[in-house]
Symmetry: C2
Subunit: 233 residues, 2 copies
C-alpha cells in the first residue's frame, strides 16, 4: 500500500493539513485546514479537480484557527468533527467507531483517542492514520489543558494507535523538527515519550514539562468551536 | 489513481524532495534530495522501513547542493541522473525514454525535457510527473543559464509534458508561494507563462525577466556535478 494523502504545512503554527483523494480521483476530504491558508487549500482542490465531501477536524485546536467553516461554505462540503469537542455548528458529530464514506469506495474510520483533549480523535484511511496532536513523530501532544489527561493519552496511544498494523503510515497534526511522516511500528518501538515507559512514568514526564500557555488559546478554542467563523455569523 | 509520493520541503531554497514508495511498501527512490536534509531524509527511510534503490536528480541544480552522493554511500542506492547534466560520478546515465525499475512492479519513465538546463529530465510514475524546474505550478523554471533555452523549454512543456493525461499530478522542483501539487490539465489551461502563448511570445517574456544570477551557482553546479561530494573525495 502506498496511497498517501497530499500533505500541506503552515509554517507559523507548524500545522499539517491533509487532503485525502478517493479512488475515483474526484471526491476528497480535508483534515485540519488552517484559516490563513484557505485560498491555498481551495487552489489545490481546483487544480486537482476535486469535489470536497467533508472537512474533518481532529480536535478543537488551541494554537491556530481552522478554516473548516469557510471551506464548508465555499465548497458545499459537510463539517465532520469529534462529538466531544464542543464544535456545535458542525453537521456531523463523530464517535468512536464511526465510518465516514466518500467517493465510491473510500472509508475513514474514527478512533476516539482522548488525552491531548478529551474529545480528540484519529482517522484511519487506507493504511494511513491521522493522529492530530495525540501522537506526534517521536513525541506526543501536551495534556495540560482542554481536559487533557496523560493517563488517557497513554491509553489512547498504547491501546488504540499502537494496535494498528506496524506498516500504517502515521501523519501527525504538527511537527516542529522538519519531519513529515512516520509509521506505527517505528513509533511503538522508538517514540521518545512513550516507548518503554509505564503509564505512571509517562504521567510524571508530562507533568514535569511545564509548558507555557499557548498564546492563542483564549481566542482560538472558541473560534474553532465555531468552525473558525465569526461568532454570530 | 491516488498514489502520491511523500513530499519534503527545504525552506531555505524552496526545494521539494520526493520519496516514491513501490507497491511492495519496501523499495523506494528519492528525487532531488537536499544536502542539509540528509539526516531528515534518512530518518524518513528508516521510519517507513524503506530500502532505497535509486537517488534521482532532475538536473544539476544551481541554487542548492544535492545529498545524492551522501545518500548513495549511506544506503547502497545507485545514483541515476540525466546523461546531459555532466554528473560524471553517477552510475546510471539516463536518456529520453529510459525506464527505471524498482520494487516488484514499479516503473519510472524518463522524459528528456530540456530548457531550464540542456540536460533536464522529468520523471513519470503511476499518474504523477516530477518536473524538476522545467514546469512549476503556474510558472516555469528560468532559462538564462546552464545552456537554458526558452524555445527548448516551450517545446518540452507543450510538446511533452502537456501531452500527458490531464489528471496526471504534477510535482514541481520548487514552489515559492506555498503551493504543493498541480495537474497537467490545470497547467495546460491556466499556466501564467505558457498557456495561450506562442513560442515567440514566450521567448520575449523569458528574455525580459532579467533575474539576478543565483547566489550559489558557481559553487553549487560543480558540487552537484559531483553528486554533492567534496571534489577529490
Ligand atoms: Fe492541539
Ligand atoms: Fe534548477
Amino acid at each position: 500500500m502506498n496511497i498517501n494523502p497530499v500533505q500541506l504545512f503552515d509554517v507559523e503554527s507548524s500545522t499539517f493539513t491533509y487532503i485525502l483523494v478517493a479512488d475515483d480521483n474526484e471526491s476528497a476530504v480535508i483534515i485540519d485546514p488552517v484559516e490563513r491558508h484557505w485560498e491555498r487549500d481551495l487552489a489545490h482542490l481546483e487544480r486537482l479537480d476535486l469535489k470536497l465531501a467533508y472537512v474533518l477536524e481532529t480536535h478543537a485546536h488551541a494554537d491556530h484557527v481552522t478554516s473548516a467553516g469557510k471551506l464548508r461554505e465555499l465548497t458545499g462540503a459537510q463539517a465532520a468533527v469529534p462529538s466531544g469537542c464542543g464544535i456545535a455548528p458542525a453537521e456531523v458529530q463523530l464517535n468512536d467507531g464511526d465510518v465516514i464514506r466518500f467517493g465510491p469506495h473510500d472509508q475513514i474510520e474514527v478512533l476516539h483517542t482522548p488525552g491531548h483533549t478529551a474529545g480528540s480523535v484519529s482517522y484511519v484511511w487506507r493504511g494511513n492514520v491521522f493522529t492530530g496532536d495525540t501522537l506526534l513523530i517521536d513525541g506526543c501532544g501536551r495534556t495540560d489543558f482542554q481536559s487533557g489527561s496523560s493517563a488517557a493519552l497513554f491509553d489512547s496511544v498504547v491501546g488504540k494507535l499502537f494496535a494498528l498494523p506496524d506498516a500504517t503510515r502515521m501523519w501527525p497534526g504538527h511537527d516542529y523538527k522538519g519531519q513529515s511522516v512516520s509509521t506505527i511500528g517505528w513509533e511503538r518501538r522508538h517514540n521518545a515519550r512513550l516507548t518503554n515507559r509505564s503509564k505512571e512514568d509517562f504521567g510524571v514526564l508530562m507533568a514535569a514539562l511545564n509548558l507555557p500557555k499557548p498564546k492563542l488559546i483564549d481566542m482560538a478554542v472558541p473560534a474553532n468551536q465555531n468552525l473558525g467563523l465569526p461568532h454570530g455569523a
